[in-house]
């Protein structure tokens, strides 16, 4: 593959990134998904669509999000200069709103009445409920009963925004069951509903479509870092669960051969099966939820139960484009465990006054490790994909004491 042709020629017409991606879905859904692909490809050529989306990015989301030179953190660790792309400053607090607005406009254009999706911790659900409210669409969010109890602030946000939060009550009652429940509801009425997938996963065209909507992050960041430092960064770092924020920022740098790209996976609480969600590091190719990708799987071929302290990274598969970028070597995939992520959660809060999402803490933690090995002239750009407000209760309850934070007094 010629890097020079990338990523405009990816995926191919059937949605493959090399051997990954595609469309592994029931025949009765294929026609509907083909309609979505056709509508998106038509919309992609339409200047007025992009004008509308960019108007919302600017006036509603608050784009462009700034790039911030973390001088305190950089000098404390004594290596490369660390810069953060501040996606945490977006409306709703993370990068998810970038693709949710795009999906909502697509649904409107296709004449759909309702957006539906699954959510784990509620971040994608809140962003989608927001986009639905703005565009006048109904919104059903499927969420595991266990997660509903754990994430009550986000559940309330979705309800206040007018969305229905529908509990998934079977199996382990978490994200995977929420996907099943949302899928079941979707196939019952694919005509009036659009399943707004929450990452660069699922059947074609979703990995492409979500990447395209997230690519604004990379385009802005590349121009901003050039303006601030007069050169391209030596490395770009982002966390990878499904991989939407990483594809967003990587997409603008893939052709810059001298820029190293690092995807950071969650190493959880250990390397045993079920203790992590480091899909690319430990998985092997498989097929899940309609696409082919690296997949953590049991010996018998079922997707594995996975774990990470960051619910947004807690997924046994990964985007097909990441799977491709792993095999061709363009992106280097590393991992950071729970402890390192929590340490960075407090470190970034106290050294820079930025409370990062636990997901983004993984990226920042790896960036610091990397910075220590680099010279002062090197620039490392990190996607700070979300803010950590949503994680405060959990982190304080479980790790507060260690860091001198007491919930009661």
């Amino acid at each position: 593959m010629a890097i020079a042709d990338y990523p405009e020629n990816m995926p191919d017409q059937k949605g493959f990134f090399g051997e990954y991606g595609g469309s592994f879905i029931p025949e009765q859904l294929q026609v509907i998904i083909d309609e979505i692909t056709a509508a998106y490809i038509e919309m992609k050529q339409d200047e007025s669509f992009w004008n509308e989306l960019h108007y919302l990015y600017k006036h509603y989301v608050g784009r462009p999000s700034p790039v911030f030179h973390a001088k305190n953190l950089s000098s404390k660790y004594g290596g490369a200069q660390i810069y953060f792309k501040r996606e945490d400053l977006n409306h709703t607090g993370a990068h998810k709103i970038n693709h949710c607005l795009g999906e909502a406009l697509l649904a409107k254009k296709m004449g759909k009445k309702k957006l539906i999706a699954e959510t784990g911790a509620g971040q994608h659900g809140v962003a989608l409920a927001t986009a639905a409210a703005l565009t006048g669409l109904e919104c059903d969010i499927y969420m595991g009963e266990v997660d509903i109890k754990k994430e009550s602030p986000n559940v309330l946000r979705m309800k206040v925004l007018g969305a229905r939060v529908i509990p998934a009550t079977h199996g382990r009652k978490t994200l995977k069951e929420a996907v099943d429940a949302a899928f079941e509801a979707y196939v019952k009425d694919p005509v009036n509903q659009l399943y707004a997938i929450g990452s660069v996963v699922g059947p074609h065209p979703f990995p492409m479509l979500v990447r395209d909507f997230q690519s604004v992050v990379g385009r802005e960041a590349r121009a901003q870092i050039l303006e601030m430092t007069g050169k391209l960064p030596s490395s770009v770092v982002a966390c990878v669960g499904g991989g939407s924020n990483a594809m967003g920022i990587f997409s603008a740098f893939i052709k810059d051969k001298d820029v190293e790209l690092y995807g950071v996976e969650p190493a959880g609480r250990g390397t045993a099966d079920g203790d992590h969600a480091a899909t690319i590091t430990y998985g092997k190719p498989g097929i899940i939820h309609g696409f082919k990708c690296y997949l953590l799987q049991e010996a018998n071929g079922d997707p594995m139960e996975v774990y990470s302290i960051a619910s947004g990274l807690d997924y046994p598969g990964v985007g097909p484009e990441h799977s491709f970028l792993k095999d061709n070597g363009r992106v280097n995939y590393q991992s950071i465990n729970d402890k390192e992520a929590v340490k960075m959660f407090f470190e970034l809060s106290r050294v820079e006054g930025l409370i990062p999402a636990l997901e983004s803490s993984h990226a920042a933690a790896y960036a610091v490790k990397l910075a220590e090995k680099k010279s002062k002239d090197d620039v490392i750009l990190v996607n700070l994909s979300g803010r950590g407000d949503k994680d405060l209760d959990f982190v304080v309850e479980n790790y507060g004491k260690e860091y001198g934070v007491d919930k009661l007094g």
Binding site: I25, P26, E27, Q28, H170, V187, K188, I287, N300, G301
Partner: protein
């Protein structure tokens, strides 16, 4: 023409003995049995089948256990009764397509029904399965294009699985005119039976199916019947009813 009908059961559900007993009972009436190998992310199945699959996985049943149950069923049924395995693509991909096909051959399985392999992705599987003499069952839907129906009709082996509506297993029967057209279209171009599945749950819907298609497949209802008691009596009664009516 005699109808050609199938039943679907989740392997080793509710347990090994009751599964084998239900399989043998159903093959007194049905021409073939679809045996579902549970997958943890069954995107084509509704709650009833998904829950049954989940229970089997949770109970610790392994792939090899299921193959042993299949051997026992195979040894006790007439040669004209066919067994199919229904499972998701990853189970096959995980073991290697060639190797999976060999296992199926070794256990006397006639072919595979893989709901997350649509026609456009089927070649990589069919190329190998056909060499091994296994049938890859194609689906047609109310939205299948005439050109695709033609291709499927001409290359189909075993039977053609027509999905009676948009939806997943366990949805209600709703025979739209467009599936009738698709089935009729396929029937004129193929040598194999065109069988209607999804939403068929009683004598009435079986009769409706037979007005259009060469046969029917009953799935979710079979699982519900197994859930009704602890000794398969509701299940057996239903099979007897079908035997009497058709």
């Amino acid at each position: 023409m005699k109808s050609y009908n199938g039943a679907y059961l989740v392997a080793d559900y509710p347990d090994r003995e009751r599964f084998i007993s239900a399989a043998l009972k159903s093959l007194e009436f049905f021409d073939f049995l679809e045996i579902g190998i549970p997958f943890s992310d069954p995107v084509s199945d509704g709650t009833v089948i998904a829950k049954a699959a989940y229970d089997v996985i949770e109970s610790g049943v392994k792939f090899n256990d299921i193959m042993k149950s299949i051997d026992e069923i195979k040894s006790k049924i007439p040669a004209d009764r066919k067994l199919y395995v229904m499972t998701y693509a990853n189970h096959i991909y995980h073991r290697g397509i060639q190797n999976f096909g060999k296992i199926m051959n070794d256990h006397g399985i006639s072919g595979m029904i893989i709901p997350d392999i649509p026609f456009i992705e089927s070649r990589r599987f069919t190329d190998i399965f056909e060499q091994q003499g296994l049938e890859f069952i194609y689906f047609i839907t109310p939205e299948s294009k005439p050109e695709q129906i033609k291709q499927i009709a001409q290359s189909a082996k075993g039977f053609i699985y027509s999905v009676s509506m948009r939806g997943i297993t366990g949805s209600s029967m709703n025979l739209k005119a467009d599936i009738k057209t698709a089935v009729a279209d396929a029937k004129t171009q193929t040598k194999v039976p065109v069988v209607l599945g999804f939403g068929i749950r009683d004598v009435e819907s079986c009769k409706n199916a037979l007005e259009t298609a060469d046969g029917f497949i009953i799935g979710t209802r079979m699982i519900e019947l197994l859930n009704e008691d602890a000794d398969n009596s509701s299940f057996n009664k239903f099979v007897e009813e079908l035997k009497a009516k058709f």
